[in-house]
Amino acid sequence: MNKPLILVVEDDPPIRNLIATTLKTNEYRYLSAPNGKTAILEAASHNPDIILLDLGLPDMDGVEVIKNIRSWSNLPIIVISARSEDNDKIEALDAGADDYLTKPFSVEELLARLRVTQRRLSFMTAEMLTASSVFINGGLRVDYAGGCAYLNGQELHLTPIEYKLLCLLSKNAGKVLTHTFITQHIWGRSWDNDVASLRVFMATLRKKLEPDPNSPQYIQTHIGVGYRMMKVE
């Protein structure tokens, strides 16, 4: 069958084992690479569907691996980081990573991230095929050409900034967008006040979008990092 192929880049054998076992028992095919150089080589020769990349590699910085791969491929990269500082996650995301996992992570979390990325993949391919100017995600429909958005058939009354935000998130659905990335796209700069404004607009957008703001369905918050539009079945 068409089982997705995952490239696991991790230098620590027990963690590699853990991930491998998880993948095996959940119907994934996998490849593993213990360092950055092998990772790039394997990625180029086997063209995996998703890369799980540990940032702390013995031979090179994980961010460098991302940059290298991004120079020739768009394949999704999920970063695994043991460092609790947000900065390296943000750096990795800005370098082109799609998502991140912080050690220690649970098996369920890992699988959930893989599913999100897979959905995004399928969505992107569908999108590309239809070259659609309409984004549909669960009850949410964004009509880029018409410049309006609908939730469960009802038109959403959005301010210009809220609409811009929604477009940005929906076009990158499934991907974690950093605060800097978003503010750069909305305001063309990233000042302290912009980040603060972003939070407010995101909150108002959410109120209009989410049936229950306390357990958001569409927009996920990553404290200290950014936001992501989730794919809803």
Partner: protein, 895 residues
């Protein structure tokens, strides 16, 4: 082959030596008893040897003697060009100190240690140049003759009959690290001189006649040898004191200062005594009312004598009073003086009121004291002192005296016409003299008024009237008594006034010092201390001043303090700043009214305690010297200031040390608690896993799942612990490292709940927020951790099924977040302790698990670091509410 291993102690010592060498240069003096013994020659030879050893040797300054052998030795050594200074049309060659400091050689040769520099040089004396070189870490070779040493000056002069003007203080000689005596037989020296080796021909004859006789030279040689021996003695003595510290003399020698020319000799004698007894040495000046009337020449000589005493190592003290012997005796008694040194005729001719035999009166006043009386028969030629009028009598005073006389005469005339007796008129005149004495500043006015009163009385009221004749011979007695009564009344009044002035001054001094002390004690930071000091100094001196604070290495930004009627002189210029820097580096006074950099506008003094300089104060002199009273009070104020600064520094250091110790203690506690707490879950995890590996087949499914669940739970617990520890490292030691930004509280709460979800299956958790959007300026990660800890705590301490509620609302500039549960609540007696580290309810850190009392204390630290507060209270009807506040933030929306 292996190199022999060096003894680490030796290595360390070698390194230490290197360091100390770097900090201060060594001084070697080539010491001779007369010109021509070959000091310069010996010094140059030594320099060549040093150069052969690989030292960087430079000739700083060598006197051009034109002695062929000496000149020959100059070649092959680098030479710093002499500075040309033109002085009154003559071009003088001087040692170029700045060039030497810039060149930074390892060793520099500077001839003639006792040389007096040309006017306008940085220092008045060359030995001060040398000291600066030493301070800069440069080693110095120099030469000096015995007659240039201050304390030997009189002795040498008494032998040779020549007073040497160029002198160095004994300390400058004794501080040398090495003294090499350059010795030669006197006869040989005379031969050499005849051979023209020393002075050029014409000088040789003159010199030989005056100075270079065999007897003179032998005597000088003896003095030089003895001085060298003394120095060695002093060194071994001090070494012995250092090593055994049982050697101590309580000899304290006091010398009395005066403006007398012979006083210098007495000071030197006393200094020699102090040295011989190895005792303390104090010089005392008793300022009498008469001192104010001292002529300029005397004042200058007094200042010179004071400076001499200071140079010879005396502590200078000043007291005030009419009765000189009493003052000396009192001072001696209070200061624990054992020996008093005075001149035979000191102070006798200075005050009309002191009786001639000061010595005797002193003996009477201080019967327990050794008193050494030094004969005044000076070797100096007697210098007759022209006595001018003590002070120009002010016109205003004359006017006042005349007015009083006029008034007295008018009243007398009225009495006369009314037919009162003459006695009444005399009384009026005496009263007039009394008034004059009080209202005028010069005592001469009282005296003159007494005489004039008698004359006027004679003129107007005795028969025959309007003549200076009198018929009745009784009047002679009347006049005499009238004069005497008037005069003594007047003098008494003047004296009283003087005393009042002095006690007012003393009271003022006490007041200002007390006030300074009190003000300084209140101040807590450096700037305030400087401000108070400056305020007190301007109040005292009525001069502008500038204070440069210092960290001990550099002078900081100066603070300028001006008086109300300031002349607004520019006080901070490049030049003035340089003087202040010099004072800081050398820990010595400089600037106006000193020997060093005397062309500065201000007098610069170091604010110092022991050897540490806390700042430099510059006092604008405007060419008016400070009087001794002002000076002594000023020094006391500066001392207070330095003391306050030192106290402040000490207490700051102590606080820092205490904080450090506390942190160490916390760290130790933390490690202990963590190690303990890690052991329990790790035992469970490894045990369970081991069990599974060994007995997997034997276990039934329920047991297996239970074991897996245990492993999972314990590792989750460890993960949470690690999260807390990471947070702890960020706020460790009170130095919080917050990465703040504006965050939406809803998002923060949601993030916290995301981490808790799994464990909260048996509890119900609500988040309650209003419609309002709550933005806080926080470190999101840390606040998430606070919420996790509080909710975790609630889960941990409440039974399954309890309800936990997170509420958030805005209260002014703060956002109040509460985490409440409906569990059993916390007993009141535990409430005060729950935020303490490692406190975990009733169970002490024993073998009970999950005893990590880190969570709440961490919450408190984090919230405090954000400027907020955290509190615990009871929930109604049961349960606990934790409430904490965070700074709210408004946002300007970028639409």
């Amino acid at each position: 082959m292996e190199l022999p291993r060096q003894n680490p102690d030796q290595l360390l010592r070698a390194i230490n030596n290197d360091i100390s060498k770097k900090t201060k240069g060594k001084l070697k003096i080539f010491f001779g008893y007369a010109a021509g013994v070959g000091k310069t020659y010996a010094m140059l030879q030594a320099a060549h040897q040093a150069k052969e050893r690989g030292m960087d040797v430079v000739l700083g300054y060598i006197e051009p003697h034109a002695r062929p052998q000496t000149t020959a030795l100059l070649s092959g050594l680098e030479r710093i060009p002499a500075k040309r200074v033109s002085y009154e049309g003559i071009t003088l060659h001087e040692f170029d100190l700045d060039a030497a400091l810039n060149r930074q050689p390892q060793l520099i040769l500077v001839d003639e240690y006792a040389h007096t520099n040309a006017e306008g040089s940085r220092h008045a004396k060359r030995y001060q140049d040398v000291q600066e070189l030493l301070n800069a870490g440069i080693n110095v070779y120099t030469t000096v003759n015995v007659q240039h040493i201050e304390s030997l000056n009189d002795t040498v002069a008494s032998i040779t009959g020549i007073m040497v003007r160029e002198r160095i203080p004994d300390s400058a000689f004794d501080q040398a690290d090495q003294v090499e005596l350059v010795d030669i037989e006197p006869a040989e020296l005379l031969e050499r001189m005849a051979g023209g080796n020393i002075y050029q021909e014409e000088q040789a004859k003159r010199a030989a006649a005056n100075f270079f006789s065999v007897e003179n030279l032998t005597a000088l040689r003896e003095i030089a040898l003895r001085r060298c021996a003394d120095r060695v003695n002093l060194l071994t003595e001090s070494a012995r004191i250092q090593s055994r510290s049982d050697y101590y003399t309580d000899e304290h020698i006091l010398v009395c200062l005066s403006s007398s020319p012979s006083n210098a000799k007495i000071i030197r004698t006393a200094a020699r005594m102090a040295r011989a007894f190895k005792g303390n040495f104090t010089a005392l000046y008793v300022e009498t009312p008469a001192a104010a009337a001292m002529e300029d020449e005397d004042k200058k000589r007094l200042r010179e004598n004071m400076r001499l005493a200071e140079q010879l190592g005396a502590a200078i003290e000043t007291t005030y009073g009419e009765n000189v012997p009493y003052q000396i005796a009192e001072f001696a008694r209070l200061s624990g003086i054992s020996k008093i040194v005075i001149g035979r005729s000191t102070a006798t001719r200075k005050s009309i009121f002191s009786k001639p035999a000061l010595t005797e009166r002193l003996i009477a006043a201080a019967p327990n004291m050794d008193i050494h009386v030094i004969p005044d028969a000076a070797v100096l030629e007697y210098r007759p002192v022209k006595r001018k009028l003590p002070q120009v009598v002010k016109v205003r005073d004359i006017g006042k005296s005349i007015l009083v006389l006029l008034a007295a005469t008018l009243i007398g005339y009225a009495f006369y016409t009314l037919g009162f007796t003459e006695a009444n008129i005399i009384a009026v005149y005496i009263f007039g003299v009394l008034v004059t004495s009080i209202i005028t500043t010069n005592r001469l006015c009282g005296l003159v008024t007494s005489v004039v009163s008698v004359l006027v009385f004679n003129f107007f009221f005795t028969i025959p009237r309007f003549t200076f004749h009198f018929n009745d011979p009784d009047y002679l007695i009347t006049f005499t008594i009238m004069f005497m009564v008037a005069f003594f009344t007047g003098s008494l009044a003047t004296k009283l006034k003087e005393n009042a002035r002095q006690s007012a001054q003393a009271a003022f001094r006490t007041k200002i010092l007390l006030e300074t002390n009190q003000l300084l004690q209140k101040e807590k930071d450096e700037n305030a201390i400087f401000r108070v000091t400056a305020g007190q100094l301007t109040k005292l001196l009525k001069r502008d001043l500038v204070i440069y604070p210092s960290d001990g290495k550099n002078v900081g930004e100066p603070g300028i303090y001006r008086t109300a009627d300031s002349r607004q002189t520019e006080l901070v210029t490049e030049n003035e700043r340089a003087v202040a820097e010099w004072v800081l580096r050398n820990n010595k006074r400089a600037g106006a009214a000193t020997d060093t950099l005397a062309n500065a506008k201000c007098l610069y003094l170091a604010i110092r305690q022991n050897s540490r300089v806390y700042g430099v104060v510059g006092i604008c002199m405007d060419e008016i010297p400070l009087d001794s009273f002002e000076k002594s009070v000023m020094l006391s104020i500066l001392g207070e200031c330095a003391l306050a600064l030192e106290n402040m520094r000490n207490s700051r250091e102590k606080e820092e040390a205490a904080v450090l110790a506390k942190n160490e203690q916390l760290r130790a506690n933390l490690l202990r608690a963590i190690s303990h707490d890690l052991r329990t879950p790790l035992t469970s995890i490894s045990g369970s896993a081991g069990n599974l590996m060994a007995n997997y087949q034997k276990m039934d499914d329920t047991t297996r799942i239970q074991t897996f669940a245990d492993i999972y739970d314990d590792s989750m617990w460890l993960i949470n612990l690690v999260e807390n520890l990471l947070a702890v490292t960020r706020i460790e030691g009170g130095q919080v490292n917050l990465t703040r930004s504006v965050e939406l509280m809803d998002e923060v709460a949601a993030e916290a709940l995301r981490h808790i979800n799994r464990k909260s299956r048996e509890h119900t958790i609500h988040v309650r927020t209003g419609q309002e959007m709550l933005l806080a300026y926080i470190d999101a990660k840390l606040i998430v951790q606070v919420l996790i800890n509080l909710v975790d705590n609630a889960i941990k301490y409440t039974p399954a099924g309890s309800v936990i509620e997170i509420g958030m609302k805005k209260e002014g500039k703060w956002i109040a977040v509460s985490v409440s549960d409906n569990g059993p609540g916390i007993p009141d007696e535990q409430k005060p302790h729950i935020f303490e580290m490692f406190y975990s309810g009733a169970n002490k850190i024993a073998d009970s698990r999950r005893s990590m009392g880190l969570g709440l204390s961490l919450c408190k630290s984090i919230v405090t670091a954000h400027g907020g507060g955290i509190d615990v209270s009871d929930n109604q009807p049961t349960g606990t509410v934790f409430t904490f506040t965070l700074p709210a933030r408004e946002v300007d929306l970028n639409e």
